[in-house]
């Protein structure tokens, strides 16, 4: 199953987003929060790399990010975890993680389809 890593500047936000998404995936999705850094608010390439390695079961990992430096650290982490096929989704972090979590539990899921579903969340409207 494709794994998900949630990279927010806040460790709490990453955990909370993973909690909500875990429910969307019916408890079956593999979702690892990797938020915050040693100083508190921030992101850490080492934490993200560990997240990627633990989210992967061989099928690869999609990484969801919040701000700019989360993207850069996620890229670095992906380079460091060179054995794991991992891609960053260009998606709003919470909404993208929910969509992605549902998709990972589909028997037809691929890295591409998970990224695509995550990125679909950009078009998600909340008000009628």
């Amino acid at each position: 199953m494709i794994g998900l890593v949630v990279v927010s500047h806040s460790a709490k936000a990453a955990e909370g987003i993973a909690d909500v998404a875990a429910q969307m995936g019916g408890g079956n999705a593999r979702i690892v929060p990797a938020g915050g850094d040693e100083a508190g608010i921030g992101t850490s390439p080492d934490r993200i790399r560990e997240g990627i390695e633990s989210a992967d079961d061989g099928d690869g990992v999609v990484v969801l990010v919040d701000l700019g430096s989360a993207v850069m650290n996620a890229e670095l982490a992906i380079e460091m975890a060179a054995d794991v096929p991992a891609v960053i989704a260009d998606a709003p972090i919470l909404e993208g993680t929910l969509n992605a979590a549902v998709e990972t539990t589909s028997s037809k899921a691929t890295l591409d389809s998970v990224v695509e579903r995550a990125e679909d969340a950009r078009d998600y409207r909340k008000l009628n």
């Binding site: 850094d37 040693e38 100083a39 608010i41 921030g42 850490s44 390439p45 080492d46 701000l67 700019g68 430096s69 850069m72 650290n73 890229e75 670095l76």
Partner: protein, 232 residues
């Protein structure tokens, strides 16, 4: 340069000088970042280069390019923020250009590779109000001074520092298009970019180090000097 040992000493001294300079400028950089960011750039840079400088003993065992690579790694894990992957990741990556030693040519290659990685990683171009605004003029000037004008590296580096200074000044009137400051939109105009400024300080510390290792007339560009910083 000369033998690998002298090169390694030069790199280690440069590391010390950069770390010391950034420690001195910690509160200044933090002030800049508090205007258009989250007021941590001073602490980020000081912490990251401080950790790297603390590893001097460890680094004594390594080749010069390996020292540079390990400085990058240390920055990646210790700077934090956007500066961490930009400085750390790009230094680490560009260190491969120094595998055959540090010469005028390999230093140009290092500078170019470093610049490309920063641009590639961060997606900023000249005018985005980031460290790229200091880096591009510095790297272009360095390369041209060495490759076209046949200036000695020390002089080329001095010119690069002047160019970076102009770049720093250039960030003031711009609207930030990348990084945290871009969230402020128009309110970022009129403020000097912290990352461009720390880039300048690093280059100044490298120049100071080079002055103790390299010979050659130091040709600086009179007009650029001291423009950026003290006007603020």
């Amino acid at each position: 340069m000369a033998d690998a040992e002298t090169e390694r000493d030069a790199v280690l001294d440069a590391l010390d000088n950069v770390a010391a300079r950034l420690a001195d400028e910690k509160s200044y950089l933090t002030d800049l970042d508090s205007a258009i960011g989250d007021a941590d750039h001073g602490a980020n840079m000081q912490r990251g280069f401080g950790k790297a400088a603390e590893k001097r003993d460890e680094f004594e065992e390594l080749d010069p390019n390996e020292v540079v690579q390990n400085v990058g790694k240390t920055l990646i894990s210790n700077v934090g923020g956007a500066a961490g992957p930009l400085y750390g990741g790009s230094i680490m990556f560009a260190s491969q250009e120094l595998e055959d030693g540090i010469t005028a040519d390999t230093s140009v290659a290092f500078a170019e590779t470093y610049l490309d990685k920063v641009k590639d990683r961060g997606g900023a171009e000249v005018g985005s109000k980031t460290m790229v605004d200091a880096l591009v003029p510095a790297v272009h000037t360095y390369k041209k001074s060495i490759e076209q004008d046949d200036l000695p590296p020390l002089s080329a580096l001095a010119k690069a520092v002047d160019a970076a200074e102009r770049g720093v000044a250039f960030t003031v009137p711009l609207k930030a298009l990348k990084g945290r400051a871009s969230f402020l939109d128009w309110r970022s105009v009129g403020h000097q970019d912290p990352g461009a400024t720390s880039t300048l300080f690093i280059l100044e510390a490298l120049l100071a180090t080079a002055e103790t290792y390299l010979d050659g007339a130091v040709e600086r560009d009179a007009h650029a000097a001291d423009a950026a910083r003290r006007d603020e």
